[in-house]
Symmetry: C2
Subunit: 274 residues, 2 copies
């Protein structure tokens, strides 16, 4: 099945949550018992996957948090993605790498992210334009999620700049919907902290999956964002990272991660079924 087909199958059975898997050195030391960092990443992440796999549509490891451990961290990432494919078939892996270079270089990135690490989808930068994204977009079975409106406070410095009638991030939503999605595998990343912006993005990109990132414990914004992004067949991937994986800083971290995931899952299905 392609990325898009897997997503739709997940939405059909009411799965909208994505768990972000971002290993943090301090958290790993506090929650795992022994071994080098790579072994601790494996121990921690597998336990979180085991505790949440029946509740989620996606996992989202962020590459930065593996890269910080050097080549061994990349080995742990490769191992983790392999584990998710085996233990949670049907759940997509979005490798949050925010890559972006010229076309020739993106061929090497696509080989790395899709072949070596076997991600179902990746996040990418829009700044070099659609032609540069071809090596990602031409992989028909994989997903390409373009940064649109990010959740950081200063995200607007560029993203809100007016380009003709629209701010830049809306222009990107429009380009993704009309030009870049020719293979039906494009999505957009929008921060959960901006529900109003998210509904404007949805209006301009009615057919694209939206990855709603940075969901913390604040319910209000998530509810609004989810409602604004939802389409008749699903349309949203609601991603929460530390609110799930850091729900407990102790040895009961996996149980606590399940509870946090379950709460988000129930909120989303409750709100969305109304």
């Amino acid at each position: 099945m392609t990325f898009t087909e897997q997503l739709r199958a997940g939405w059909l059975v009411g799965r909208f949550v994505c768990v972000g898997l971002d290993p943090d050195p301090a958290q790993l030391m506090a929650t795992t018992r022994s071994g080098d960092m790579a072994a601790r990443i494996t121990q921690f992440s597998r336990a979180v996957v085991d505790a949440t796999r029946d509740l989620v549509v996606a996992y989202k490891p962020n590459s930065a948090f593996y890269e910080q451990f050097g080549p061994a961290g990349m080995g742990a990432l490769q191992d983790l993605i392999r584990y998710i494919h085996a233990a949670a078939p049907g759940v997509v892996v979005i490798l949050d790498a925010k890559r972006g270079d010229i076309e020739h270089t993106n061929e090497a990135y696509a080989a790395a992210l899709f072949d070596v690490y076997d991600a179902d989808a990746v996040t990418v930068q829009p700044y070099l334009g659609g032609d540069a994204l071809a090596p990602f977009l031409n992989r028909l079975d994989r997903g390409v999620i373009v940064l649109c409106r990010t959740s950081n406070p200063g995200g607007g410095e560029l993203q809100d700049l007016p380009v003709g009638q629209l701010p830049l991030y809306q222009r990107i939503a429009e380009l993704a919907e009309t030009r870049w999605n020719r293979n039906g595998n494009c999505g957009l990343l929008v921060g959960a902290t901006y529900p109003r912006e998210l509904s404007l993005v949805r209006a301009l990109a009615p057919s694209l999956p939206l990855l709603i990132a940075g969901v913390g414990r604040q319910q209000g914004a998530v509810r609004e964002a989810a409602a604004a992004g939802m389409t008749s067949d699903g349309g949203i991937i609601v991603s929460s990272s530390s609110a799930v994986t850091h729900a407990s800083g102790g040895p009961d971290f996996a149980e606590a991660a399940r509870q946090a995931t379950l709460t988000l899952h129930q909120q989303l299905t409750g709100w969305l079924s109304r």
Copy 2:
């Protein structure tokens, strides 16, 4: 010495060339004798460094071409940067990774690129704004080279969009010069294929080093770009990748790389001294 001090010291003795080190599987198989891919990368890149180190101000490995070989490729990258620091002291290593995420995540990227891989400078994406770049910019001894106008044909799809009076890439040049360079360690990446755009960038960012990327064999554009970017103390890092490393596809690749580097070096010093 900081990145900026090393650059200035290189310019002072007439070094402007940067050699891009982007391992290519086919090229490695044709030019190196035996070993796995990591060993071949090491063999190839060290030979190029040995043949060119007296002529250059910088080396620029592009992360994608190491990532495509998985964790072993990252080990080879780490080894290569260590080798350059030992064999070519004073020559800066620009890790061309084009990273960009929110601030918290960029802390992990900065730890990876500056500490684990020990790059003197990195290339970064502007799309998340200046606040997100803080973990890079706050490393006073390292350089942060922001994508401004890239060399790909479709780079203008976003970069040329008019934002008020200026196209987006010029607005970025302005932001980098006025807001993001508070620690004096910011630079800009501009494609060598756009000499006119480069002179407009230089006008808006008089104090920033310009990494002029994608220099091939076409002399004209390089000459114009170099002349447009040059400042009284140097100001330019002129980067050539495959035109140097693929100058020969045979066992004389290192000699051919030296010849190509020398030609570019002589052209630059000849043009710039007039």
